[in-house]
Amino acid sequence: MVNTVNVVELCIIGIGAVFTVLLVLTVVIKVMIKLTDLVDKKRREKKLFLKLKNEVFTAIVGALILHTENVLSSQKPLIDRHPPQLLWKFADRLKNTRIGWKETAKVEASLGEV
């Protein structure tokens, strides 16, 4: 016949053991999710930053080409044929993109997009 008091003690230890394991699992999973979210966010920011770099590079190369054509061309200067609005618009867009990409990364992270 098993001693009831011992069994109650065993049950308390058992409940404590199960609680400890599941509490540890809760904490470990929370930490895992936070770390993976952080890695995801960094990856997303890096992706957007690379996109921005590409656009800046394209803009510089485009401006150089236009300028070169303008210098070499015997026709009406390109500045007259291609009003600068396009370039300024592009520069503005780059400026907005530069400011906006961090916010964009935050919004995308909150939506949980991979």
Binding site: V21, L22, L25, I33, T36
Partner: protein, 366 residues
Amino acid sequence: MLGFFETGFEFLTLKNIVMIGVGLLLVYLAISREMEPLLLLPIGFGAILANLPLTDLTESSGLLGIIFHYGIEWEVIPPLIFLGLGALTDFEPLLADPKTFLLGFAAQIGIFAALILAILAGFSLPEACSIGIIGGADGPTTIYLTQKLAPHLLGATAVAAYSYMAMVPLIQPPIIRVLTTVEERKIIMKPLRRISRIQKILFPIVVGIVAILFVPKAAPLVGMFMLGNLFRESGVVERLSRAAQNELMNILTIFLGIAVGSTMSAENFLKPTTLLIFLIGIIAFITCTATGILFAKFMNLFLKEKINPLIGAAGVSAVPMSARVVQKEAQKVNPQNFLLMHAMGPNVAGVIGSAIVAGVFLGITL
């Protein structure tokens, strides 16, 4: 020569007839009432076969004896069923709100209460553990633990576990209504966040390693459960995942059912202790539901964003019936309240919780 003229009639006892009746009852419940038919049908028919005399089916060289020996005694079938269950389980609701792991724990407290009750009723510690685990509402865990600790109680505990799992929609609602107020049931929880693929892949690996390091005896169940889930979430072994969810589960369910049914001989089953097992089993189940709800209410004392205490009732491992009962009860007081996915978190956590409890019981008794 005389053996040719032997029939089973002269060896049929009253106890055999009663057990055949029990088997027929289980078959009726499975077919007519659709109560856990996948298990109760083969268990019921296995019980009928086991009680027909002179068949030798349950002998060590008989068909049912061989299936029982290599499937249950060798502890192969329950862990492999957990493999299939892992492949079927989506842990996203649990990952989206990891604190529901604690609700999975809370619903297992009732198991220990039932254990104490079983000891007071005169059962030994291993027998009491096998009876208490019925409250976890997890058939394979019940069978796995009972086979290790009290194999002579296998038929009774398995039938009790699966019967009560099928009766979740009848047993849980009254307990829910008694322990919660209408205002509490109306609590709306915020939508769950999305989980990335990498998080779903890491989950079974992390949980498997951590849980088994803490409770090594739970390794067969937890390990297979997590492996099955990894098959599902990795996305690169679609064939294995589909096989685990379908073919493997179906084959193992057949073998499990008839093997368990084969243990329901008159000598093993028709004892006063069987009724006691059923009684303590239902008390365990009720207590597990109650402790889940009460723990959720306790957690609300410390949480800024309150959880609906109904989801605590889903901490028993009856997946997904318990979660559906919670959803239904919530919508009775507020039709706009969709709690199903929130309830699935503790529901699947309960499966892990009951496997951990089984491991703890094995550590205590073996």
